[in-house]
């Protein structure tokens, strides 16, 4: 069965995700390795995913960015890759190779993860991550922890199960101190 990996980026030391227009958001994208993420192992990690899952808001943001900023290192990978947007309101999804999952979340995930190995990336947003954590369907969290206390933003771990135990798999810091944390759900 395929693993579900949540990729959480722009995460502050005080547990907040960067909201657009904030100082923290600006800090995140002023770091060159975040603004122009061209690490080959990371690009391979994206390229080798079986599918890319997004909630509607994340889908609109990411599809807009990837189809306009075509020189972004993620753009050719994501434009070609298989995408699934989780939404009960969206009627059409124009981004290339995108399908809409409008049914029961757990059933939709099962359809995607059975029948093979490898992994599926969950890009967010927070509503989708939280739903999947509540259903205990996330197998791995990849968190990009920025050296910053934001004080404002969106709390990632609101409305999620208490005592959600994780195993730390690896940790790597970028040259400007972004800490890439890899956690596996303890089962």
């Amino acid at each position: 069965m395929r693993k579900l990996i949540a990729t959480v980026f722009n995460y502050s030391l005080d547990g907040l995700l960067a909201d657009e227009g904030t100082e923290f958001w600006k800090f995140c994208f002023d770091l060159p390795e975040n603004n122009e993420p061209d690490e080959p192992t990371h690009l391979d990690f994206l390229r080798n995913a079986h599918a890319h899952l997004m909630g509607r808001t994340a889908y609109e943001g990411i599809s807009g960015a990837m189809t306009t900023s075509t020189d972004h290192p993620f753009s050719p990978i994501l434009n070609a890759a298989r995408k699934v947007v989780f939404s009960r309101t969206l009627k059409t999804a124009d981004w290339n190779n995108t399908t809409i999952a409008a049914g029961d979340t757990a059933e939709e995930i099962d359809k995607l993860r059975v029948g093979g190995d490898g992994y599926i990336l969950v890009w967010g947003g927070v509503s989708l991550w939280r739903s999947l954590m509540r259903l205990d369907l996330i197998d791995e969290l990849r968190v990009s922890l920025f050296p910053y206390v934001a004080g404002e933003g969106t709390r990632l771990f609101d409305g999620v199960p208490k005592s959600y135990r994780l195993d730390l798999v690896s940790s790597t810091a970028s040259r400007n101190g972004i800490l890439e944390l890899q956690y596996r759900r303890h089962r």
């Binding site: 547990g15 100082e23 192992t41 005592s163 994780l166 730390l168 690896s170 940790s171 810091a173």
Partner: protein
Amino acid sequence: MSKVVALMSMSLDGYVADPSDGVDEVFDWYFSGDVEVPTPSPATDFKFRVSTPSADHLRSLMAEVGSMLTGRRTFERADGWGGQHPFDVPAFVVTHDVPQGWPRPGSTVEFVTDGIEAAVNTSESGCRSEVRGSARRRNDPAVPRRRAARRDPHRSGRRLARRRSAAVRPPREYAGRPRKSDGRRRCGRDSSALSRAQVVMDLRFTVRPVD
């Protein structure tokens, strides 16, 4: 001048205590390992029991600290450390009112009632006298020799380059499995701390003024 280091054990979602000030989950790493780390205070036989990497971390930390500055609630939670902080350094408690029965004779726990800035200044003075005190006591056979060795200027200089320390761990007794990194460049002087990733990760950040 001494550096002010904020030290905390924190969960991945940013909690340092539960709603009733309980710290069992985030402090568990201090007492769940195989390696005994005695504290330097001759007044107590208090020991940590941690993993090997955490033992290195704690020994470095205890050698680096010149004084402790805490709030009143921490003082209360710790029962005033029995009058002697186990790190064998003076402890300064910021409070509006000196608690009844304190300061105690012979105790190195003191109270600062005129605000946080005064408390920082006072604990820095205390810190300096403590460093002098340790230098004096180096020849005292009652003080373990290893303490003097841990004040090796080269080692502590390297450590003092980091100002802010935060131990970040996932929420409950997480047994970590360290693995080799994917080869991405690590932050120079923090690489040793990062490779320690097990149950608890020791993260040290230098506080920078906002540009």
